[in-house]
Amino acid sequence: MVVMDEPRTILHVDMDAFFASIEQRDLPELKGKPVLVGGKGPLAVVAAASYEARKFGCRSAQPMAIALRKCPEAVVAKPRMSRYSEVSQQIFCILDDFSPLVEPLSIDEAFVDVTGTERILGSPRQIAQKIRKRIFNETGLTASVGVAPNKFLAKLASDMDKPDGLTIIEREGIPQAIAGLAISRMWGVGPVTEKKLLGMGVKTFGDLQSLPIDELIKQFGSLGAKLHHLSHGDDSRCVTPEQSVKSISQEVTFDEDISDAEKVRDVLLKQVEKVSVRLRKAQLHARTITIKIRYGDFQTITRSMTLNEPSDQTDRLWREAKNLFDKWANSNFKPVRLIGMGVSQPSSPGGLSEQMGLFSKPENERSKRLDATTDAIRNKFGLNAIHRGTS
């Protein structure tokens, strides 16, 4: 057995047929029809297949020609990656509200560590339902969620009741619960290892559980120990938020065009707060601040500015974001469909030299103290526990 730390609650959130579902959502005439996302050329591959198309045996990574042979009536949609990543951002923004520990696995799946948030957000089941509901309400898309004490089991769980499902693997009786799963489902088991295991008569997790760990290490080296632990459902890897951060951003799409600039500005302030919290958590200072505004007709504009001294202070970032926004709003305001704010060019603070200021010291110190205090409150009670007011 690996050393058991305090029990954790990990969620694996996996969007259902993500690209295809977005196409079906954006083009209602595709609803209920088999949809294949991908190119049409001779070498094209299916990037995503809707559940209607999967019934015919279509799946992602299949050559498009083969998928179309299986399901000739399928509608082929050209991939719109920028659209998908936009929706993805929206989903990650939602996940960020539930925990600071969100580890993206790809554009449409992520681990979320919600350990210790039960008091504020409810039981793991309630949290998972809340996430699924918010994703559905805000994007019209469904997600399958797996809840388990670790990442490996959470990912297995999310796949058990797809699409639009919720599966919880309880702490008790884990080895029995997963004993029947095929070994190909195990992390780290590719075709070669699978063949070798099958040759040893190992077909399921249960078969693997009954093999002594020494035997596995002899056969597979360090992978052997891993297989042993995983077959018992043990996985101590942590949920680690994005490793190297290039930019941090937030954006919100409104249900309708918002013609009240004040209202949009309030949303922008919340975004600045979230972005600066994430900057501080990653111990980075940002140099460039960008705001993004989209009108109802999808015309999108961005405005950005670069700071002389990189900063992670909410006040500092807000002052510039607000100025960019006000400058735009005072001259060209049009009703807004989407507002977003991001920072880029992050750097580690300090370096070898620190420029002293002529006037700024007391204000800086106050602002840093305020950030530290609000961060502490958010760490304890969640991101939405405290917000700045606009004056």
Partner: protein, 370 residues
């Protein structure tokens, strides 16, 4: 409207007035220049709603008076690209015809009455008058130090601070501060306001004749300047920066105990060379003063190091080691018009001061070197 223009004179005027036109605006008329005829001049005007500029071109023959409102970029491109000595501008409804010897351009314009009114100077109450050359020099010595960012203080502009005929311009970005003093030709009482950087940049383009008189009017939240005489005077109007300028007089130190004078070019060369081995992480250059020498050193991790020696003739005070952002020093050395420059220092964590004479003071906060 029909006007025969000297092309070179028109290009010069278009370059100046065109720089007011906002780069990005959804309001099409703001991307335009307004042309009109008055007293034998062709007047050009542009505004971005914060700054407005109007100036006349003398080298024209007006055959028919009138007005026009046409996209600034197109008329400028055309007039620049032609190589005729003269061009004819003629309006037909809202369309402008530009004719050279072998070319004819038609640009679709707008109704001139849609253009926001551009302020005149006729009704102004004059605050002060100053020689263009003096104003040019004061702006040059300060504008570079103004902030491009926003802070709780209004420092994204230059403070115009006048007491009788004594004028001071002060600019700071919170880390260094430049102050230049000059004398007005006429001025009573006191005036203090903050002029946006964009307006000052534009003003400098109107000051090519140092002998010309600049008349300045300050009212409520606007400043107006008129350069030159009579009808062909260029008039610039700008909103002022709102808010409070920081208490700059408190940060100009007067308690230095170390002082040294440099040849401006010697210091400039030494700083430039030492700055070659600084980077984003270590942007400070270390200045080590001791007896008759100054050692400048810099270090950029994973890149290298630099040391530059400067002989000192008159260093007064204890040895001192202090770090500065080299860019802040060269910024000032680039604009001073003096062979010698004095540096006053106190301690590694206290501001340093550069002075050319009584009229230019430049305060720099040091960099904390580790």
């Amino acid at each position: 409207m029909k006007v025969l223009c000297d092309r070179a004179a028109l290009v010069d005027a278009l370059n100046v007035v065109g720089s007011v036109v906002p780069n990005r605006t959804p309001t099409p008329v703001l991307r335009c220049l307004k042309l009109s005829t008055a007293d034998g001049l062709l007047m050009l005007a542009a505004t971005d709603l914060e700054v407005a500029l109007k100036m006349g071109v003398e080298q024209v023959e007006i055959e028919q008076t009138g007005e026009a409102l046409v996209p600034a970029d197109k008329i400028t491109q055309i007039v620049r690209a032609c190589d005729d000595q003269t061009l004819t501008l003629e309006m037909e409804d809202h369309t402008m015809h530009i004719r050279g010897a072998d070319a004819h351009f038609k640009i679709f314009g707008f109704d001139p009455s849609e253009f926001p009114p551009v302020v005149d100077f006729d009704d102004a109450t004059i605050d002060c008058e100053i020689a263009a050359g003096v104003l040019q020099s004061l702006i040059g010595l300060t504008l570079f130090a103004a902030a491009s960012e926003h802070s709780r203080y209004a420092i994204n502009g230059v403070l115009f601070d006048r007491n009788k005929r004594n004028l001071r311009l002060i600019a700071t970005d919170g880390r260094r501060l430049a102050m230049a003093k000059g004398e007005c030709l006429v001025g009573e009482d006191t005036t203090s306001c903050i002029i946006p950087s964009k307006a000052l940049k534009l003003i400098t383009k109107l000051l090519d004749d140092p002998e010309a008189t600049v008349r300045i009017a300050v009212e409520d939240n606007r400043i107006r300047l008129s350069v030159g005489e009579g009808a062909d005077a260029a008039v610039l109007s700008s909103s002022l920066v709102e808010g409070a300028f920081p208490p700059f007089e408190d940060v100009i130190p007067s308690d230095h105990d170390k002082k040294v004078t440099f040849d401006t070019t010697t210091l400039s060369s030494a700083i430039r060379r030492a700055a070659l081995l600084t980077n984003e992480e270590s942007k400070g250059v270390r200045l080590h003063f001791e007896n008759d020498s100054l050692t400048l050193s810099s270090r950029a991790p994973e890149m290298g190091e630099a040391t530059v020696e400067v002989k000192l003739d008159d260093y007064q005070g204890e040895p001192l080691e202090i770090g500065f952002n080299p860019g802040f020093i060269t910024d000032a050395l680039n604009v001073v018009n003096s062979e010698k420059i004095t540096m006053e220092l106190k301690a590694p964590n206290k501001p340093g001061v550069l002075r050319t004479d009584k009229d230019f003071t430049y305060v720099i906060m040091p960099v904390n070197l580790q």
